[in-house]
């Protein structure tokens, strides 16, 4: 049985059918561990003492490293036939068990976002994810055969959706970034359309009447193929390759496929019939209606944090931290560039670091970070925690290109936990980022919480500066606050 017994949720053990190595899971843990006053070591599931393992892994031959990466991912995947046994409420039961038992002034619900984790840490509030990754075994699909991947997911999808009427499935197939894993597993990203019993229970027990529910709404979309009422197929994903490169090919794609010895020179792609919220980061608006209904019934306020690209939130949160340090009369001037799930809310504050989150390790992230650094007051020190995913994918900057961000540091720049020679197969970074971060000698006091009033004051002082809106639930996006 895949059912998670109560014991496991009570002891913060996630259901077997959910991926540990995923944005939602890792960010949830980072958020919850911070609220428990704990560090986020080893992506939340590896102890700090595993550091030597990282060094050992990085010393292995490339093919062995890739196999370890593949099989560690595959070990989490479940057979397609077992999808009928998945109950998404088991996930949400585990999610809510991660957070300390106390009242919160607000609760965030919605899109996964690394900058959002730091915002929640500052506000001292939990985040309830809308999207989760369920990895499903698909051993016979070639990564570059998109249509085969789509077909392989049809029956498991039917079973999953039949068992879970309040979710929408975004079956994601990205042979650029997920090349290593796709040969063994499919990416079923499920989005909750309704709060559901567990989230409602958590809100009633932890958010006092008059409290605020903040909807985290990333409005990024992707051209998709609708396969059923709640079944969407997404070819490609946000990263180094553009939407058109996935769908129409390009010279970069051809070279990439050649490089990996693929029989294809361009991906086949199913016909697109709509535009949907992006599978991993995008917010599915059906949930908003249910949250508003629940808030009305229980006397809660609803606010909406709205932005287009996942990384649009990053400059705002970075500057908020800078502003917050100054409010607290502290003078650290250190930037910590994080990528994907290599992030650390606890040690960011303890070392007096300003966090700037990047969604992945690809060119658009490097460009966005560079844009931020070109337009902000210089930092004395810049540190970079760079995620590795094992693939020399389309749009992957070289390690030297990544080093260019260090030129913006007034004093010095350095990687944290990164083995430059191994990138992008530097799997040791998953345990070493945190211990290297702790090696920064600076120590700052852990703060109390930033109030929502303070956050709104920061937004007022910086109107028009960020591509983010913080809206009342009744406001339209062109309301007076829309300039934020």
């Amino acid at each position: 049985m895949l059912k998670t017994p109560g014991y496991f949720s009570m002891h913060r053990v996630p259901p077997k059918f959910i991926a540990n190595f995923d944005s939602a899971t890792a960010m949830l843990r980072a958020n919850a561990m911070y609220l428990r006053g704990k560090e986020f070591s080893g992506l939340g599931f590896m102890p700090r003492s595993a550091r030597p393992l990282g060094t050992v892994i990085n010393s292995l031959p490339q093919s062995v490293k890739e196999q370890i990466y593949i099989w560690s991912g595959y070990s989490e995947a479940i057979p397609g036939a077992d999808m009928s046994k998945v109950d998404v409420e088991d996930i949400t039961k585990w999610v809510t068990s991660e957070y300390p038992e106390r009242e919160y002034p607000a609760v965030m619900i919605g899109s996964s976002n690394g900058a959002g984790v730091h915002l929640n840490a500052a506000l001292g509030i939990p985040w309830l994810p809308q999207t989760f990754l369920i990895p499903v075994q698909q051993p016979d699909v070639h990564p570059d055969e998109t249509l085969d991947g789509m077909k392989a997911g049809m029956e498991p999808a039917r079973l999953l959706l039949e068992a879970n009427p309040d979710i929408q499935l975004h079956h994601m197939h990205d042979a650029n970034q997920d090349r290593l894993m796709l040969g063994k597993m499919g990416y079923f990203r499920v989005k909750k359309l309704k709060l559901g019993e567990q989230y409602e229970k958590f809100l009633r027990e932890h958010l006092p009447p008059g409290g605020t529910i903040i909807l985290n709404e990333c409005h990024r979309t992707w051209p998709t193929t609708r396969l059923g009422e709640r079944h969407i197929f997404q070819h490609g994903a946000l990263g180094g390759a553009t939407e058109s490169e996935f769908h129409e090919g390009s010279e970069r794609v051809t070279k990439y496929l050649e490089r990996y010895g693929s029989h294809k020179r361009q991906w086949d792609t199913p016909e697109k019939n709509e535009v949907s919220p992006e599978a991993e980061w995008g917010f599915e608006p059906s949930l908003r209606e249910d949250v508003e209904r629940f808030a009305r019934e229980n006397g809660y306020k609803v606010k909406r944090l709205v932005y287009e690209e996942p990384e649009h939130l990053s400059p705002l949160v970075a500057d908020l931290y800078r502003w917050w340090y100054r409010q607290r009369q502290l003078r650290p001037n250190r930037l910590m560039l994080e990528s994907f799930i290599v992030l650390e809310p606890y040690w960011a504050l303890r070392t007096g670091s300003v966090p700037f989150w990047m969604k992945f390790n690809m060119e658009p992230s490097l460009e966005w970070a560079t844009h931020y650094l070109e337009n902000t007051e210089p930092y004395d020190d810049i540190h970079l925690m760079l995620f590795s995913h094992g693939v020399e994918a389309v749009g992957l900057p070289s390690i030297d290109q990544w080093k260019s961000v260090f030129e913006f540091a007034r004093k010095k720049g350095s990687f944290l936990g990164v083995d430059e020679k191994s990138f992008p197969r530097d799997f040791g970074v998953f345990v070493k980022y945190q211990t290297d971060l702790m090696d920064i000698p600076a120590r700052y006091p852990m703060p109390g919480m930033l109030t929502l009033n303070q956050f709104e004051r920061f937004l007022d002082e910086n109107q028009g500066r960020y591509r983010v809106q913080f809206l009342d639930h009744s406001a339209t996006e062109t309301a007076t606050v829309a300039a934020r």
Binding site: L330, P332, G352, P441, A442, R443, Y444, P445
Partner: protein, 324 residues
Amino acid sequence: MNVTDAIIVITGASSGIGRATALACAERGGTVVVSARRSHALEQLAQECSNLGGNAVAIPADVTDPDAMDALASGTIEKFGRIDVWFNNAGVTVAGNFDEVPPDVYRQVIETNLFGVINGTRSVLPYMREQGSGIIINHSSVLGKFGASQFSAYSTSKAAIIGFSESLRQELRGSGINVCLLLPAAIDTPIYNQAANFSGLGVKPVEPIYPAELAAQEVIGLIERPRAEVYVGNSGRAGSFARKVTPFAASDRAIGTTWEQDHFTPNPADPSRGNVFEPDSNPDHAKTSGGWPVSEGSSTPYVAAGIAAAAIPAAYLLRSRSKK
């Protein structure tokens, strides 16, 4: 930390314990940044330190001026790149009954002694937080452990330094920064020669009197092995102990009597604001010693005397009560 490798900032370095500490550190090859209001005295001190084999820089500053303290910290960083030890040492004093000391003098004593420590700490802390290491040594006094008749402003400031330091030490747990208290008893320094005085009598230290070099040794001990607090002179430790174990009425009588009798000379003295607002221009007062007779030999008799000083009146008091 080895003194030889340390960058040590000392406020109130132009005389007394600060001066003795600078010289002792220099003798061990340490780098000292000496600070006080008197620039000429500092320059001389820096030269003496260099002659002893140390590396010394003089940065004049008034500890009551937060900007000057910021400049002292940033100037040290600019010159040496880090600050390992910050000795908040500067202090002044005033003698006289509480209601006879002018309010502005009273306030300025606290401003110098207490806010001098606070200003210095505020200036150095950002650098030490970034370093993740450092030692802050705050000069309190045995008079921070117990009050003393005629010296309430001084005692108040020194008691507050203890409260400040203990709070700060708790806040800085895990930061790599140590906060230490120096608790001297009576030390032969020019502080008594420069004291503001509204008592009508000349001021002198209460015996036993210890040399300033002993305090410097204790500071070096804190640099090498930071501890929460160290006494300078066993009489202070004994007095502090006696204060704890005897009833208030008894120890108040013992300490009050001792201070009123032994802290003053029989000679009359005009009211004086001393060096509280302006630095003393007398070159004899820019020295380590104030010329007071340092007690010779073992301090054990004084320790016993300290305990007895509290215990005997306690017994007397109890006997008086039993007679009633």
